[in-house]
Protein backbone atom coordinates (compact mmCIF):
# COMPACT_ATOMS: atom_id res chain seq x y z
CA UNK A 1 0.00 0.00 0.00
CA UNK A 2 1.33 3.39 -1.04
CA UNK A 3 0.93 5.14 2.28
CA UNK A 4 3.01 2.59 4.11
CA UNK A 5 5.89 2.92 1.62
CA UNK A 6 5.85 6.69 1.48
CA UNK A 7 5.53 7.64 5.09
CA UNK A 8 8.62 6.51 6.89
CA UNK A 9 9.80 9.78 8.30
CA UNK A 10 9.18 10.83 11.84
CA UNK A 11 7.45 14.16 11.72
CA UNK A 12 6.40 14.81 15.26
CA UNK A 13 7.15 18.49 14.78
CA UNK A 14 4.54 18.64 12.05
CA UNK A 15 1.97 17.24 14.40
CA UNK A 16 2.90 19.86 16.96
CA UNK A 17 2.62 22.57 14.31
CA UNK A 18 -0.74 21.21 13.29
CA UNK A 19 -2.00 21.11 16.87
CA UNK A 20 -0.87 24.67 17.51
CA UNK A 21 -2.47 26.00 14.37
CA UNK A 22 -5.94 24.62 15.15
CA UNK A 23 -7.93 27.81 15.13
CA UNK A 24 -11.63 28.36 15.68
CA UNK A 25 -12.55 28.19 12.04
CA UNK A 26 -10.62 25.00 11.33
CA UNK A 27 -12.44 21.76 11.73
CA UNK A 28 -10.54 18.82 13.05
CA UNK A 29 -11.68 15.29 12.62
CA UNK A 30 -10.34 12.49 14.69
CA UNK A 31 -10.73 8.87 13.87
CA UNK A 32 -9.58 6.30 16.38
CA UNK A 33 -8.96 2.83 15.14
CA UNK A 34 -8.49 -0.27 17.18
CA UNK A 35 -5.65 -2.00 15.39
CA UNK A 36 -6.51 -5.47 16.64
CA UNK A 37 -9.97 -5.57 15.23
CA UNK A 38 -11.25 -3.31 12.50
CA UNK A 39 -14.77 -3.93 13.73
CA UNK A 40 -13.99 -2.09 16.92
CA UNK A 41 -13.53 1.33 15.47
CA UNK A 42 -13.76 3.56 18.44
CA UNK A 43 -14.73 7.14 18.07
CA UNK A 44 -15.70 8.98 14.98
CA UNK A 45 -16.22 12.68 14.82
CA UNK A 46 -18.03 13.95 11.74
CA UNK A 47 -17.24 10.94 9.56
CA UNK A 48 -20.08 8.51 9.24
CA UNK A 49 -19.64 5.04 10.72
CA UNK A 50 -20.60 3.57 7.35
CA UNK A 51 -17.49 5.18 5.85
CA UNK A 52 -15.10 3.94 8.47
CA UNK A 53 -14.67 0.53 6.90
CA UNK A 54 -13.45 2.20 3.73
CA UNK A 55 -10.86 4.21 5.64
CA UNK A 56 -9.76 1.16 7.53
CA UNK A 57 -9.22 -0.74 4.30
CA UNK A 58 -7.18 2.11 2.87
CA UNK A 59 -4.64 2.16 5.66
CA UNK A 60 -4.81 -1.53 6.36
CA UNK A 61 -5.64 -1.14 10.05
CA UNK A 62 -1.96 -0.75 10.87
CA UNK A 63 -2.30 2.61 12.51
CA UNK A 64 -3.73 3.10 15.95
CA UNK A 65 -4.47 6.78 15.70
CA UNK A 66 -5.46 8.90 12.76
CA UNK A 67 -6.08 12.61 12.84
CA UNK A 68 -7.61 14.21 9.82
CA UNK A 69 -7.91 17.88 9.16
CA UNK A 70 -10.02 18.46 6.12
CA UNK A 71 -9.40 22.15 5.44
CA UNK A 72 -5.65 21.85 5.75
CA UNK A 73 -5.62 18.64 3.73
CA UNK A 74 -3.45 16.99 6.32
CA UNK A 75 -3.43 13.59 7.82
CA UNK A 76 -1.48 12.39 10.82
CA UNK A 77 -1.01 8.79 11.67
CA UNK A 78 0.64 7.02 14.53
CA UNK A 79 1.96 3.57 13.89
CA UNK A 80 0.97 0.86 16.32
CA UNK A 81 3.34 0.71 19.26
CA UNK A 82 5.82 3.16 17.76
CA UNK A 83 4.72 6.39 19.42
CA UNK A 84 5.84 8.13 16.25
CA UNK A 85 3.71 10.30 14.07
CA UNK A 86 3.83 10.37 10.35
CA UNK A 87 2.16 12.92 8.21
CA UNK A 88 0.70 12.95 4.74
CA UNK A 89 -0.84 15.95 3.05
CA UNK A 90 -2.46 14.20 0.14
CA UNK A 91 -3.82 11.02 1.54
CA UNK A 92 -6.89 12.76 2.90
CA UNK A 93 -8.09 13.24 -0.66
CA UNK A 94 -7.96 9.51 -1.17
CA UNK A 95 -9.88 9.03 2.05
CA UNK A 96 -12.57 11.48 1.07
CA UNK A 97 -12.91 9.99 -2.38
CA UNK A 98 -13.18 6.54 -0.85
CA UNK A 99 -15.72 7.72 1.67
CA UNK A 100 -17.93 9.49 -0.82
CA UNK A 101 -20.15 12.44 -0.01
CA UNK A 102 -21.17 13.04 3.58
CA UNK A 103 -24.79 12.05 4.03
CA UNK A 104 -27.35 14.39 5.53
CA UNK A 105 -27.53 14.17 9.29
CA UNK A 106 -23.91 13.18 9.71
CA UNK A 107 -23.04 16.69 10.82
CA UNK A 108 -24.95 16.12 14.04
CA UNK A 109 -21.62 15.23 15.61
CA UNK A 110 -20.22 18.71 15.77
CA UNK A 111 -16.51 18.79 15.05
CA UNK A 112 -14.59 19.22 18.25
CA UNK A 113 -11.56 21.42 18.61
CA UNK A 114 -8.56 20.30 20.52
CA UNK A 115 -6.90 22.87 22.76
CA UNK A 116 -3.73 24.57 21.57
CA UNK A 117 -1.46 25.27 24.53
CA UNK A 118 2.09 26.66 24.26
CA UNK A 119 3.94 23.94 22.42
CA UNK A 120 7.42 24.83 23.61
CA UNK A 121 6.24 24.26 27.19
CA UNK A 122 4.79 20.93 26.18
CA UNK A 123 8.03 19.99 24.44
CA UNK A 124 10.11 20.79 27.54
CA UNK A 125 7.89 18.50 29.56
CA UNK A 126 8.27 15.79 26.93
CA UNK A 127 12.00 15.59 27.64
CA UNK A 128 11.55 14.72 31.30
CA UNK A 129 8.76 12.20 31.09
CA UNK A 130 8.80 8.45 30.82
CA UNK A 131 7.45 7.21 27.50
CA UNK A 132 4.48 5.47 29.11
CA UNK A 133 3.28 8.56 30.96
CA UNK A 134 3.82 11.20 28.27
CA UNK A 135 0.42 10.92 26.64
CA UNK A 136 -1.44 10.71 29.92
CA UNK A 137 0.28 13.64 31.62
CA UNK A 138 0.22 15.97 28.62
CA UNK A 139 -3.41 14.98 27.97
CA UNK A 140 -4.25 15.85 31.59
CA UNK A 141 -2.59 19.22 31.20
CA UNK A 142 -4.48 19.86 27.96
CA UNK A 143 -7.75 18.94 29.62
CA UNK A 144 -7.14 21.30 32.52
CA UNK A 145 -5.87 23.94 30.12
CA UNK A 146 -9.08 23.90 28.08
CA UNK A 147 -11.06 24.19 31.33
CA UNK A 148 -8.99 27.21 32.37
CA UNK A 149 -9.43 28.70 28.87
CA UNK A 150 -13.20 28.56 29.28
CA UNK A 151 -13.17 30.08 32.76
CA UNK A 152 -10.35 32.60 32.66
CA UNK A 153 -9.55 33.17 28.98
CA UNK A 154 -6.69 31.97 26.83
CA UNK A 155 -4.05 34.35 28.13
CA UNK A 156 -4.43 33.34 31.76
CA UNK A 157 -4.71 29.71 30.75
CA UNK A 158 -1.38 29.97 28.92
CA UNK A 159 0.27 31.56 31.95
CA UNK A 160 -1.14 28.73 34.09
CA UNK A 161 0.13 26.16 31.57
CA UNK A 162 3.66 27.60 31.56
CA UNK A 163 3.69 27.78 35.36
CA UNK A 164 2.45 24.23 35.68
CA UNK A 165 5.09 22.92 33.27
CA UNK A 166 7.96 24.84 34.88
CA UNK A 167 6.98 23.81 38.40
CA UNK A 168 6.57 20.21 37.24
CA UNK A 169 10.17 20.07 36.07
CA UNK A 170 11.74 19.90 39.53
CA UNK A 171 9.95 16.73 40.74
CA UNK A 172 10.53 15.09 37.37
CA UNK A 173 14.20 16.08 37.40
CA UNK A 174 14.58 14.77 40.96
CA UNK A 175 13.19 11.44 39.82
CA UNK A 176 15.66 11.31 36.92
CA UNK A 177 18.55 12.11 39.28
CA UNK A 178 17.43 9.44 41.75
CA UNK A 179 17.33 6.86 38.96
CA UNK A 180 20.70 7.90 37.61
CA UNK A 181 22.22 7.75 41.12
CA UNK A 182 20.80 4.26 41.57
CA UNK A 183 22.39 3.14 38.31
CA UNK A 184 25.73 4.70 39.23
CA UNK A 185 25.65 2.96 42.62
CA UNK A 186 24.84 -0.34 40.93
CA UNK A 187 27.68 0.13 38.44
CA UNK A 188 30.06 0.89 41.30
CA UNK A 189 28.94 -2.22 43.19
CA UNK A 190 29.43 -4.40 40.11
CA UNK A 191 32.86 -2.85 39.44
CA UNK A 192 34.00 -3.56 43.00
CA UNK A 193 32.75 -7.11 43.08
CA UNK A 194 33.86 -8.09 39.60
CA UNK A 195 37.37 -6.64 39.71
Amino acid sequence: MKIKDDLEVLLKRDLDKFMSSSSNDCKQYTLFVDHDDEEKLKSIVHFAPSNVEKYAKLYGGDFERVVLRAEARELFLRKVGSGKYIVDSEFITQLEEAAGPVEEGQHSHAPQRSPSPPLNAEYILHLFLKADERDALIGDLLERYSGKCEHFGERRAKVWFYGEVLRSLWPLLKRLIARASGLIALGEWIRRHVS
Binding site: Q28, F128, D140
Partner: protein, 110 residues
Protein backbone atom coordinates in the same frame (compact mmCIF):
# COMPACT_ATOMS: atom_id res chain seq x y z
CA UNK B 1 2.59 -11.66 58.76
CA UNK B 2 2.06 -9.10 56.01
CA UNK B 3 4.76 -6.58 55.25
CA UNK B 4 3.91 -3.03 56.32
CA UNK B 5 4.38 -0.38 53.65
CA UNK B 6 4.91 3.10 54.98
CA UNK B 7 3.52 6.05 53.08
CA UNK B 8 4.30 9.74 53.14
CA UNK B 9 1.69 12.40 53.84
CA UNK B 10 1.22 13.38 50.19
CA UNK B 11 1.04 9.73 49.11
CA UNK B 12 -1.73 9.31 51.67
CA UNK B 13 -3.66 12.23 50.18
CA UNK B 14 -3.27 10.84 46.66
CA UNK B 15 -4.53 7.43 47.77
CA UNK B 16 -7.54 9.04 49.44
CA UNK B 17 -8.26 11.10 46.31
CA UNK B 18 -8.18 7.96 44.16
CA UNK B 19 -10.58 6.23 46.55
CA UNK B 20 -12.86 9.27 46.54
CA UNK B 21 -13.00 9.49 42.74
CA UNK B 22 -13.56 5.76 42.25
CA UNK B 23 -13.79 4.79 38.58
CA UNK B 24 -13.03 8.33 37.45
CA UNK B 25 -9.58 8.60 39.04
CA UNK B 26 -7.15 9.83 36.40
CA UNK B 27 -4.50 12.56 36.38
CA UNK B 28 -6.62 15.64 35.67
CA UNK B 29 -9.47 14.65 38.01
CA UNK B 30 -6.98 13.81 40.79
CA UNK B 31 -5.20 17.11 40.24
CA UNK B 32 -8.51 18.95 40.54
CA UNK B 33 -9.64 16.95 43.58
CA UNK B 34 -6.39 17.71 45.42
CA UNK B 35 -6.69 21.37 44.51
CA UNK B 36 -10.25 21.45 45.84
CA UNK B 37 -9.02 19.81 49.03
CA UNK B 38 -6.65 22.76 49.48
CA UNK B 39 -3.49 21.02 48.35
CA UNK B 40 -1.89 22.80 45.41
CA UNK B 41 0.36 20.47 43.54
CA UNK B 42 1.79 20.31 40.03
CA UNK B 43 0.85 17.59 37.59
CA UNK B 44 4.53 16.57 37.48
CA UNK B 45 4.65 16.06 41.26
CA UNK B 46 1.37 14.16 41.11
CA UNK B 47 2.68 11.78 38.46
CA UNK B 48 5.96 11.12 40.24
CA UNK B 49 3.95 10.26 43.36
CA UNK B 50 1.60 8.03 41.39
CA UNK B 51 4.50 6.22 39.79
CA UNK B 52 6.11 5.75 43.25
CA UNK B 53 2.84 4.33 44.59
CA UNK B 54 2.74 1.96 41.63
CA UNK B 55 6.33 0.88 42.32
CA UNK B 56 5.36 0.19 45.93
CA UNK B 57 2.49 -1.97 44.68
CA UNK B 58 -0.19 0.19 46.31
CA UNK B 59 -2.03 1.27 43.16
CA UNK B 60 -2.57 -0.10 39.70
CA UNK B 61 -3.16 1.77 36.46
CA UNK B 62 -4.50 1.24 32.98
CA UNK B 63 -4.92 3.34 29.86
CA UNK B 64 -8.36 4.54 28.79
CA UNK B 65 -9.69 5.84 25.52
CA UNK B 66 -8.13 8.79 23.70
CA UNK B 67 -10.44 11.80 23.54
CA UNK B 68 -10.50 14.83 21.27
CA UNK B 69 -10.58 17.35 24.13
CA UNK B 70 -7.23 15.93 25.25
CA UNK B 71 -5.72 16.31 21.79
CA UNK B 72 -6.31 12.61 21.08
CA UNK B 73 -4.36 11.51 24.15
CA UNK B 74 -5.53 8.70 26.38
CA UNK B 75 -6.33 8.95 30.09
CA UNK B 76 -4.40 6.90 32.59
CA UNK B 77 -6.75 5.59 35.27
CA UNK B 78 -5.68 4.58 38.77
CA UNK B 79 -7.12 2.22 41.35
CA UNK B 80 -6.05 1.59 44.93
CA UNK B 81 -5.10 -2.04 45.59
CA UNK B 82 -5.79 -3.92 48.84
CA UNK B 83 -2.21 -3.22 49.91
CA UNK B 84 -2.89 0.51 49.42
CA UNK B 85 -5.95 0.36 51.67
CA UNK B 86 -3.87 -1.50 54.28
CA UNK B 87 -1.17 1.17 54.13
CA UNK B 88 -3.81 3.86 54.66
CA UNK B 89 -5.26 2.02 57.65
CA UNK B 90 -1.79 1.55 59.18
CA UNK B 91 -1.01 5.20 58.73
CA UNK B 92 -4.29 6.21 60.34
CA UNK B 93 -3.81 3.78 63.25
CA UNK B 94 -0.28 5.08 63.89
CA UNK B 95 -1.53 8.64 63.93
CA UNK B 96 -4.30 7.74 66.39
CA UNK B 97 -1.87 5.97 68.69
CA UNK B 98 0.44 8.98 68.72
CA UNK B 99 -2.21 11.53 69.56
CA UNK B 100 -1.95 12.06 73.32
CA UNK B 101 -5.58 12.97 73.82
CA UNK B 102 -8.65 13.80 71.79
CA UNK B 103 -8.50 17.49 72.72
CA UNK B 104 -5.16 17.87 70.98
CA UNK B 105 -6.66 16.92 67.64
CA UNK B 106 -9.25 19.67 67.94
CA UNK B 107 -6.98 22.40 69.16
CA UNK B 108 -7.79 22.05 72.88
CA UNK B 109 -4.14 22.01 73.95
CA UNK B 110 -2.33 25.34 74.23
Amino acid sequence: MQKITYIAEFEELVLLAILKLGDNAYGASLHEALEEAGRKVTVGALYTTLSRLEDKGLVTSWMGEPTVERGGRAKKYFKVLASGCRALRNSEAARRRLLPQADFAFGGVE
